[in-house]
Subunit: 336 residues, 4 copies
Amino acid sequence: MVITMQPGASPEQIKSVTARVEHDGFKTHLVQGTERTIVCVLGDDRPMDPRAYEVLDGVEKTTRILKPFKLTSREAQRENSKVTFGGVQVGDTNVVIIAGPCSVESHAQLMETAHAVKDAGAQALRGGAFKPRSSPYSFQGLGEEGLHILAEARDQTGLPIVTEVMASQQVPLVAEYADVLQVGARNMQNYDLLRAVGKSNRPVLLKRGLMSTIEELLMSAEYIISAGNPLVMLCERGIRTFERYTRNTTDINAIPVLKDLTHLPVILDPSHGVGKWEYVAAVARAGVAAGADGLMIEVHPNPKQALSDGAQSLKPEKFAELVRQVKVVATGVGRE
Amino acid sequence: MVITMQPGASPEQIKSVTARVEHDGFKTHLVQGTERTIVCVLGDDRPMDPRAYEVLDGVEKTTRILKPFKLTSREAQRENSKVTFGGVQVGDTNVVIIAGPCSVESHAQLMETAHAVKDAGAQALRGGAFKPRSSPYSFQGLGEEGLHILAEARDQTGLPIVTEVMASQQVPLVAEYADVLQVGARNMQNYDLLRAVGKSNRPVLLKRGLMSTIEELLMSAEYIISAGNPLVMLCERGIRTFERYTRNTTDINAIPVLKDLTHLPVILDPSHGVGKWEYVAAVARAGVAAGADGLMIEVHPNPKQALSDGAQSLKPEKFAELVRQVKVVATGVGRE
Amino acid sequence: MVITMQPGASPEQIKSVTARVEHDGFKTHLVQGTERTIVCVLGDDRPMDPRAYEVLDGVEKTTRILKPFKLTSREAQRENSKVTFGGVQVGDTNVVIIAGPCSVESHAQLMETAHAVKDAGAQALRGGAFKPRSSPYSFQGLGEEGLHILAEARDQTGLPIVTEVMASQQVPLVAEYADVLQVGARNMQNYDLLRAVGKSNRPVLLKRGLMSTIEELLMSAEYIISAGNPLVMLCERGIRTFERYTRNTTDINAIPVLKDLTHLPVILDPSHGVGKWEYVAAVARAGVAAGADGLMIEVHPNPKQALSDGAQSLKPEKFAELVRQVKVVATGVGRE
Amino acid sequence: MVITMQPGASPEQIKSVTARVEHDGFKTHLVQGTERTIVCVLGDDRPMDPRAYEVLDGVEKTTRILKPFKLTSREAQRENSKVTFGGVQVGDTNVVIIAGPCSVESHAQLMETAHAVKDAGAQALRGGAFKPRSSPYSFQGLGEEGLHILAEARDQTGLPIVTEVMASQQVPLVAEYADVLQVGARNMQNYDLLRAVGKSNRPVLLKRGLMSTIEELLMSAEYIISAGNPLVMLCERGIRTFERYTRNTTDINAIPVLKDLTHLPVILDPSHGVGKWEYVAAVARAGVAAGADGLMIEVHPNPKQALSDGAQSLKPEKFAELVRQVKVVATGVGRE
C-alpha cells in the first residue's frame, strides 16, 4: 500500500501515520517527493482496507499495490485449475458447453430439452429449480420437484447437472441432486451462501454480479476457496451499463483478463450477456475466440411458451447450429 | 403492454400474437400504423414479463405501460405510510436521524457512540453485528455478541436499534434484539431473505443495491409487503457509476422520485453515498432539502481505529454539527 | 507516480525502468517490498501519462500520486475565484440563479420568459441560439438571429446573457453578443473549442460531460485557463448511469468535492440533472444545501409548446416558487 | 409513439392531447385500458421528441415505437453498404485490418511502422496527426507535418491512410491528405464536425463515444449521411463502465446488434476497447468471430518510447501474430 500525505502534512502527522502502520504489523519506508511525502507500507497488507488509513490526519489518499485476492491468483498457482464433474473436465484444452432451459418447467419440457442439447453436442445440462425473479408475482421455479426432474434427465442422458442454489440452507438439498452448484449473479456477494457452498464438496459455478468488478468476482471466489472448496468456475454473464439496446453488456475483456489473473476456469454465458436469442451465437463465438473454457447457453424447445427468459433462449436446431460454429472457432484457436 | 410488430409482419403473425395474448387472459386492441402494426394488451398485465412476447414470430419489441409494482405504489395508497418503532415515527413531517458505527466493535466503543449520538440529537442507533465484507479476510462482525451489546445500548439510552440481517435463518435471532431489520445493499435481491423479513413483524430498512434501479428497489419492497409485512422504509445509499473520486454516487434524484412513486418513507445514507467523511454533511443537508424522511449516518468515536468504514465515519462532534445544520435546512423546507 | 514492478522482475528490468524515468527528467527512489519492488518517481510528473510506463518490461502497473490538474486546483489558489459579468458576481457568498428557455424560439417567447424570470428573481438569462441535438431532424436553433433576440432581452431587462457556443469558429460571433460563453456537455472534450474560448476574454460556463469524471472536467477547465482565460465556472448537469427513471443522475457529491478540489465556482443545472420538471425544485434545493454557488434552470412560458426540453422546463410561476424555496435553504446554509 | 395517460386523466385532458398530436400533423388512435388510456400516434413521428408530449396535462409517459434513425437503418437498405478507399473495400466478405501508431511521432517512426504493418498483412495505415488529449500538457500531435509524413508513407507502401480530424475547419486540410477521415470518440456528438465531414467526399470512420449508446452512434451517422456523404464506417472502441481493471469495456454485443440494425460496415478497435496490449489479440479474435468487418489496431515499433498509448500498442511481431490468429478465425466464420 502507498499512503500519500497532503502537501502541507507536518512531520508529526507523518510520524503518527508510520507509527500506526507499524503498530498494525507492517514496516514502512518514507519517500520525500518535491510536493508530497509518501509512506510505502511493506509486507502482505492484503487483509487491510486501504481506506482505513485515509482518515488519519494529514493523509490525502491511499493506493493498493498488491491485489487483494490470494488463493484465486495466478501467483498462487501458475497452472490452470481443472474442475471435473460427471466425466466432464473444465479448464483444459477442450471447450465445454452447458445448455438447457432457464427454468425447469415440466417433466416433458426438460426431457425434450435434455435429449436435444445432448444430441447437439452439449456436455452438461443446466436448468433452474429455484429461480430468483425480480417480481414476487413471477414464476419462482418448481423447487425440489424441479431437482427430481433434473436428476431423471441425468439418468436418461448421462449429462451432469448444473443448477442454482439461492440460500445457504438449500445447499444440502441441492447438493444431493446437482453435479454443480450455481451461485447466481444476484447472490455473488451473498457471503452466507458463499461460505455454505465453500463447505460443500460440489464444484461451484460462480456467476459475476451484474454490478460487480472483476476484482470483486475474484474476492467472492476467494470466499469459497478459503472456506475449503477449491472447485470454482467463474462465469461472465454481462454487466449493467448505460446501453439499453441489449439486456446487459457482455464484458468480453473479462475473459482474457481473468485467464491472466487467475488459474480458475472461465465460462461465458452469452444468453444473459446479450439477452436476445438472435445475437447469442455471435457472442458465443466471440467468447471462445477470446479464450473461454466453456459456454453456458439457454435452450428451450418452445421459447414462445417459456415461463422465463424465452427471449434469449435458442430452439434446439439453432443451438445445434451454434455448436457447429463454435467448434470451428475453437479449432481455429487451438481448442477442442 | 404494447407489442410492436416488425415492418413486414404478416396477418398470420399478428393473429398468432393476439391469440397468444388472449390465451394468457388479456384482451387486445390492434392499431395499424403507417409503418408498423402494434398490439395493445388490455388488463392488468403486471405479472407478465414483456420480454416473453418478444420471441413470437413477427414481433419487434414490447413495451411495458403499467409500472410493475403495485402494493408499494402511490396509486395503491395516496397518503404516506408511517413506520413506528421504539417511539420513533418515520414518514411524517419530522426528519429522523439514525446514527452509529458501521460495526459494533466492542462494548466500550458502542456505549460511547450511543451516548454521543443521543446527546447530539439522533433518534435511533445503528450498528452492524453481522457484516457483509467483500474480503473473507476482513473483520466479519461480532455476531450475536454484537446484538447483546446493541440491546444494552438501547437499555442505557432509550434509542431503538437498527441492525443488518444477512440471511433468512438469522431473521429470528436478529428480530429478537433489533427494532428495525436492515437489509443491506448487496442483499437487495436476495429473495429468500426478503421473504423471511416479510414474514417478520419488525419494520424493515431496505437499502438500494449499488447497481439497482429505482424500479428494482420498489420490486424488492413489493416482495416484503406481499409476504405480509407493510412496515418498509427505503434507503438510498449511493449507486455505482464510472466516477472514481467518490466511493459511490448519491442518487439525489431518487428522493423526489421515490416520494412521488411510493407511499413508503425514504431515508438517505450519505455516509455510503459519498464515502468520505469530509463530504457527508453537505450531502446530508442536500438529502433533507430534497425531501428525505430521515438520514442514516455513520459515527465513530475514533474513526482512525475503526475496523470498518472509518474513512466515512464522523466523530461525535462533527456529527453534532451536522445535526445542527440539518435542523436549519429541515425547518427551511417545512420539516421538523 | 509509483511504478509497481511484477513479482519476479529482474534487477536489469528495474534498472531499465529507473533509467528511463531518469532520462525523462525525474528522480527515482526504489522501495523493496516483501513481494514486489516499487519505483517512486520524484518531481512534477503531471504532464506524464502514467500508462506510458506500463509497457516497460517487468512493470505491473503505475499509479498517479499527484492530481493531474494544476491551475484549477485549490493548491494553486486557496481562496475562491470570483467570476463577474454584467454586474453579477459568482463564487462569493451569494447564490446566483441563471434561468431561461432551453432554446430561443422566437422574439415573443424570449421576451416573455426574460421578464418573467427577472421578476421571479433570476440574475442572468440563459437561452440557446445554437443547439446541439442528437437528431439531425430536430430543431437546431435560430443561430445568429437567436443571438440578436438575446441581446434585445438583455437591453430590456438588464439581465446578462449565457448562451452556448458549439464550435471554435463561432466564438467571435457568440462573444460579440453573450456575457458568458457556455460550453455544452457534449463538447466538454472538444479541445479545439476549449482552446478557442480560452483565448476569448468572456467568462466561460463549462458543463460536465454526461459521462466525464470530475477529474476530466477539471482537466478541460485547465485547457481553458492555460490558454489564457481564468474566468471559468463549472457546471454539474447530471451524468449518465444505468438508472432509467430519470434522464440523468445528478451527481450531488460533485458539489462538495469540486468545492474542495478547485477554487472555481460551481453551478448546478437540476433541469438536465433530473430531466422532469416535477423534480427540478427538489434537486435545486439540494444543490444549494450542498454548497453550489449558483443554479441554472430551464423556464418556458408554455412548456407544452417548447421546441426542446419542454418536459424539464418550469412555467414562470413554478420557477418563482422554486426561487422562494431556494432562498430559504440558502439562508439556512449561510448564503444569500 | 405511444402516449400513456395518467390513471385519473380526464376526457378533456385526453382530448387536448389528441388535438395537440393532430395539430402536429399525425393521426391518433385511442385505446382504453382497464387502468389507463393510451394514445397511439400514427405516421412517421421520428422527427418528434417523445418527451415533448410528456409535459401535457394528464400524460404519464411517452414511448417511441419507431427507431429514430432512417438512412442508416436496415429498413432503408437491406444489403450491406460497401465503402471503398485506396483499393480497399470494407463491408464485403473480407475482414479489413487497419493498423499503425496512435500518433505520428516522427518520419522514422511512421515509416518503420508502415512497412511493418504492411508486411504483416494490414491493408490500411492509421496514425494521428491531430491528437485529442485530456491534458493540455500532453503531446498534441505534429499537425500538418504529420499529414505530410502520412502521405509519404502511403507513397512508399501503397497503404491508404486513416487519420483523425478534430474540428470542422480542419476538414479541407485533412481531406487533402487522408483517404479516410476519422471522427474520434470524444467528437461523436460534435455536430458541427459531423456536418462538415458529411459535406466532404471522403469516407468517414465514425468512432462510438465512450458514453454513447448504439442508437446515438447511429444518429450521428445519420447526421453525416443526411449531409450528403453515405460513405460511413462505424467503429466500436469500448465504452465507459464501472469496471476499472481495463481502460474501457469492449461492447462485443454491439457488433451483431449493429450488423442487424444498419447496413453500414462495422469495425472493432480492440486496442482502445481493452487498453492493455496483452489482451488486444484475444479481443481482436472475438470481434472477428462476432462478425466485425474490420479491425483497427495500434502498432508501434517501440511502445516503450511511444508518446501516446504505448500501453495498448503492439510491437510489429506481436501484430503479425495477431494477423495470423485473426485469419484463422475469419476463415472459421466464413470470411476472408
